[in-house]
Amino acid sequence: MGGQLIGLQTLAASGTETMRAALSAGGCSSSQCGSSDKPDSMSAEIWEKIKDHPCYSEEAHHYFARMHVAVAPACNIQCNYCNRKYDCANESRPGVVSEKLTPEQARRKVIAVANEVPQLSVLGIAGPGDACYDWKKTRETFSRIADEIPDIKLCLSTNGLALPDHVDEIATMNIDHVTITINMIDPQVGLEIYPWIFYKNRRWTGPDASKILHERQMLGLEMLTTRGILTKINSVMIPGVNDTHLAEVNRVVKEKGAFLHNIMPLISDPAHGTHYGLTGQRGPTHAELQALQAKLEDGTKLMRHCRQCRADAVGLLGEDRGQEFTLTQVPEVVSYDPSRRADYRALVSEMRGEHEAARRAVGETLADLETAPTCLVAVATKGGGRINQHFGHAKEFLVYEVSPHGVRFLSHRKTEQYCEGGWGDDASLDGVIAALNGVSAVLCGKIGDCPKESLAAAGIVATDEYALEWIEEGIGCWYKQISQSQQTRRSA
């Protein structure tokens, strides 16, 4: 990693000045304004709730990290995309196993992370298993941690079956965010997704199972909405099963007050041992997923920045520091030190003002380009809203769409990491190029000549010319430059 590319990771061992240096890219920060601008269409009250939640606000996900603890491994339904030897596939990546913890172990781990990772803002319980079914463990974990870190946001994810039983407690415990995975509103579609559920002391199969699940999901969503709890709906897109049906799901959940709707691709692999994996049910392609997301955009706000992450992941953006905080590495006795998180928050609110101003400025300058074509640009970032990651270290790219209408975040694209410590081999670079299909340019913190040439041969411009700039600013500058040079070429 280049010396000037101070990662947010270095915040772990540093004071406010280093934090500032890392976030402001080495320069001194000229903080034009202290508060961050909320999007115009949102009420102040809601913005206050989501502004630090990386899964609910695209902007927050550049600055804040969430962590999960796996404390509730039991589940009351069976999904065809889940093999219960692994994590709950609804919020996590299928095929991974998380460290299972007791509520007390979870408390220790969260405090250890909060002391080390000042970006931490959200604690989620998202499986393996169902957080509402194994409610006692979920409740105990949340209450132990909220006692010590009162400003941490609590977030839970559920299949919805047991949700209505606990909504009142969810409200009194200040759990601000609930995710329900809703894959269908029609039991006939559900037949293909849920082989059985366990409800009222017996197992239900066939259309009954999906009908009960559906009714409970709708009831839970309505109860949450009435109590003002922000509810996100996750849907797994399963080609040939519910892909066309999801437009209807979108309409209904929006009607019932869902705040966000997130479409996740089915990840299906025989090696995961899931029903879908074993029967050859395929997941959607990038293009299919994006087409569906584009179609639903006018429905309830669609979240594009969510990825399925490990249930015990710790971190910001694509990074996962979970391995540094396994139970054996966490001290027996930990006490919470709020100072670093407080310093970091103060700093972020300053930076956000600048970032927002930069975004707006870019939007205005692009409007002059009128006729320039729309392009996709990929960015390598490790957080802070800047172009600051080495090409070879990027585990994923953030893809933006740029046009005279402005710069807009589209999606994450995961890559097999190209450079594992040393210099990557060509096979994995091919993988990166495939992942960047359709992208015109890659902006990163640093890139070597070899990969640059290979990318150029594939028709992708790669450059570190915009290193350390705000993402939108860098993309805007690049876009202006190529549009203008194309225009001069045309008129010459």
């Binding site: 491994p73 589940c75 219960r84 030897k85 298993g129 194994d134 366990f198 002391n201």
Partner: protein, 64 residues
């Protein structure tokens, strides 16, 4: 008359533990086991043995 858990297949999710009406299931050395002295096969309490109905792995909670 009792049920048992085929430990080689068990995912240690614990669902059976809290569904069992008789507290017959507990974690011993990181494995779930059924205490045959406490297990009634749910007779007179439920139509089906609760552990078998909730267990996500087929043929894992079975008659001993």
């Amino acid at each position: 008359m009792a049920y048992k858990i085929v430990t080689s297949q068990c995912t240690i999710c614990g669902a059976c533990e809290f569904e069992c009406p008789n507290g017959a299931i507990s974690l011993k050395n990181d494995l779930y086991v059924i205490n045959p002295k406490k297990c009634t096969e749910c007779e007179g309490q439920f139509d089906v043995p609760q552990c078998a109905a909730v267990c996500p792995v087929p043929k894992t909670c079975i008659p001993a």
